[in-house]
């Protein structure tokens, strides 16, 4: 700014209209200084955990930027600097564990992850022995999630169609409200419900299908909400044009409204699938556990990836082999979910309705 108006005074004397400002590298210098100090203090005091010097450095960083800035720039600017450094600290505080989660899973997961691991079950492998694989778990997860999707998608899409295309009265309001309520049901409660209805009251056994029912309950509200949003984005002119040509309403919905929004609906469904694929609690309650391959989801316990991870941890007796399998299975699960998520988001961007925001 001063360049434009007072080119010759640049650098010679401070403009009288501006207060003193710290150089641009100031926050970085303070950050570096506080990290060094934090490391120094923790080394001097013999603290062994990374978390401790990190916290010390964070506190030093915030205090340091406030102190120096208050001296040089004044209180208001100093407060601004503190806010900035707090925001940065919050960001780093949050990124570290999340990054570490991904890093640890990948690092420890790739150890046993190979073709053998993906194509064998745990049938003859003891909990603490090395070997074995997750074939039975992948099969179970795919079947349970697939069944849940088969049930939840038609019902969810139809419900959304009802809400957007037909619903005006009290029933629609009630459905909207309870879809919201359903979104918040903890997965374990959905599991307990199917347990009390299907297994205790009706006397059915543990099976993949019982798990699918609980997953359906968790999936339904997600499908309804996302489909609803997508149907609302379909321009009314399309519907009006179709109706004006004398096309019945149901054909208008099937041939005009749904094809227009199919991209968004698919995205919503994929996100919902990604969400339920990692559900552990209801599957543990309803599908039970087995180390064997069971391809029939309608009778007898099945395995599933999340439960497999849990079992490898819980029954490991602290053995490395079981932990390795748990991490590898976790990596497979995360990969599956992430790929679904990214595909869904890519599809959403690619197929977004033209009137989108």
């Amino acid at each position: 700014m001063s360049n434009a108006t007072l080119p010759d005074t640049q650098g010679k004397r401070p403009s009288s209209l501006r207060g003193a400002t710290l150089p641009k590298w100031f926050p970085w210098a303070v950050a570096a200084g506080s990290i060094v100090l934090g490391l120094g203090i923790s080394a001097a005091a013999g603290l062994e955990s990374d978390i401790q010097w990190g916290l010390i450095a964070a506190v030093l960083f915030v205090l340091g930027s406030y102190g120096i800035a208050a001296k040089v720039e004044g209180r208001r600017q100093a407060k601004d600097r503190v806010a900035t450094s707090l925001v940065w600290v919050a960001f780093i505080l949050a990124v570290l564990p999340l990054a570490s989660l991904i890093w640890e899973t990948v690092k420890r997961g790739v150890k046993v992850l190979d073709g053998y691991f993906l194509t064998h079950s745990m049938g003859i492998v003891g909990d603490t022995e090395p070997g074995g694989g997750i074939y039975h778990a992948i099969l179970g997860t795919l079947e349970q999630v697939g069944l849940a999707t088969l049930i939840a998608v038609p019902i969810g899409v139809l419900t959304a169609i009802y809400l957007v295309e037909y619903g005006r009265g009290r029933l629609a309001k009630a459905v909207t409200f309870f879809v919201d309520v359903m979104t918040g049901i903890p997965s374990i409660v959905a599991g307990l419900f199917v347990l009390s209805l299907w297994i205790i009251t009706l006397g059915m056994g543990y099976s993949g299908f019982a798990g699918s029912m609980a997953l359906t309950i968790l999936m339904l509200p997600v499908v309804v909400r996302s489909t609803e949003e997508m149907l609302k984005l379909v321009p009314n002119e399309l519907r009006e044009a179709s109706l004006a040509l004398g096309v019945p309403k149901w054909r208008t919905i099937l041939k005009v409204v749904l094809p227009t929004s199919i991209g968004g609906i698919t995205t919503g469904v994929m996100l919902a699938v990604a969400r339920i694929a990692g559900e552990t609690a209801p599957v543990l309650l309803l599908v039970w556990v087995t180390p064997l391959i069971n391809a029939n989801p309608f009778s007898d316990p099945q395995a599933s990836l999340p439960v497999y991870i849990y079992l490898q941890y819980a029954n490991s007796g602290g053995e490395g082999a079981a932990y390795d399998r748990a991490w590898a299975a976790a990596l497979v699960l995360i990969l599956f979910i992430m790929i679904l998520n990214m595909a869904a988001r890519g599809l959403a961007r690619w197929k977004a309705p033209k009137t989108g925001r």
Partner: protein, 335 residues
């Protein structure tokens, strides 16, 4: 806007058609195909309501059986022994553990999430902000079992030092005293829950901060406000209800979180003053870890505790939805 009025002779002039008109509009479908399709879609909606009703009815029914046999007070007993003679169990410890761990999680997660949301919307360079937002979106999808595995095998060993530290400097408060067990107490659970609900709170608050009118911020800047003052005067007041509802959604998640807690927590059916010592459990964790060896009576007792959890999460989520609905234009929560 109102499609179904296309079928009526005269479209209503008011924004909100009367009941009779609505009914006529909905019934305007006279072709068999239309009637079948309307029936199907309405049926799906009704089916959804039936599921909700069934959940409430069946949980209450089994819970009533269990509580009827309970010889102790269901709400104040510090014990979980549904198969004993006489069966005695209560949710006091579970309620304590659930509330405490959720409070710790919220105390950590809310300020940090708001910080990240601000970072994405107001501090980071635009392109980096977009990337971070995308990554946070993805992280919201990491299943809880993976958080649990990471928590117990990676986070817990890291926390020894922090626990000792808290004990050294804050042990005198009684809340942070530590007897030296492995750090698998409610405090660790709170930290892990905080990490797990960070993404969802961040996502919702980010959406809210995005919607702050540019004019407000520019006006504040024009008056000479620093960036922090802009945030304090323009962004935060606008986003307050959004932050509250985002936190409530996060709280709903934290309350119902099962597997991660079950893996990390070393449960003890007792209440301790210190957060760092063993003591307490949570509703969901108790169900998951006791279910294996539960008899029929035991299962009913667990269902009873599940019902309590259900009611609590309903209340929390309902409150969040009410806040969102009151200021609908800020809602970023359509997940």
């Amino acid at each position: 806007m109102d499609i179904s009025t296309q079928n009526t002779a005269a479209p209503p002039v008011t924004d909100q058609p009367s009941d009779a008109q609505q009914k006529r509009a909905a019934r305007g479908a006279t072709r068999p195909g239309d009637r079948i399709f309307l029936g199907l879609s309405r049926g799906s909606g009704i089916f959804l309501l039936v599921i909700m009703a069934a959940i409430a009815v069946f949980l209450t029914y089994r819970a009533a059986i269990a509580i009827g046999k309970d010889e102790a007070n269901f709400f104040t007993t510090f014990e979980w022994n549904p198969t004993g003679t006489p069966p005695e169990f209560g949710i006091a410890v579970l309620a304590f553990g659930t509330v405490v761990s959720s409070i710790i999680a919220m105390a950590i997660a809310v300020p940090v999430s708001v910080g990240i949301a601000l970072f994405i919307t107001h501090y980071a360079p635009r392109r980096i902000g977009g990337v971070i937002a995308y990554v946070v979106d993805l992280l919201a999808a990491v299943p809880s079992i993976v958080y649990g595995l990471w928590g117990v095998l990676f986070l817990v060993p890291q926390l020894d030092g922090l626990y000792g530290w808290l004990d050294d400097y804050l042990g005198w408060t009684g809340v942070f005293s530590w007897q030296g067990g492995a750090p698998r107490s409610l405090f660790t659970v709170g930290i892990l829950l905080a990490i797990m609900i960070l993404p969802i709170i961040t996502n919702v608050s980010r959406e809210v901060f995005r919607q702050v009118p540019q004019m407000h911020e520019e006006a504040a800047l024009a008056l000479g406000a620093t960036r922090w003052e802009v945030i304090r005067m323009a962004v935060l007041p606008f986003g307050r209800s959004g932050i509250i509802s985002a936190s409530m959604l996060g709280l709903g998640r934290a309350l119902g979180e099962t597997m991660a807690v079950a893996m990390v927590l070393s449960p003890l059916f007792d209440i301790q003053a210190s957060l760092l010592d063993y003591g307490g459990g949570t509703f969901a964790q108790n169900i998951a870890s006791k279910f294996n060896e539960a008899t029929e009576m035991g299962r009913d007792a667990l269902i009873a505790s599940g019902l309590v959890l259900f009611v609590i999460t309903l209340l929390v989520n309902g409150a969040a939805r009410m806040i969102i609905a009151r200021r609908k234009e800020y809602s970023g929560a359509n997940a």
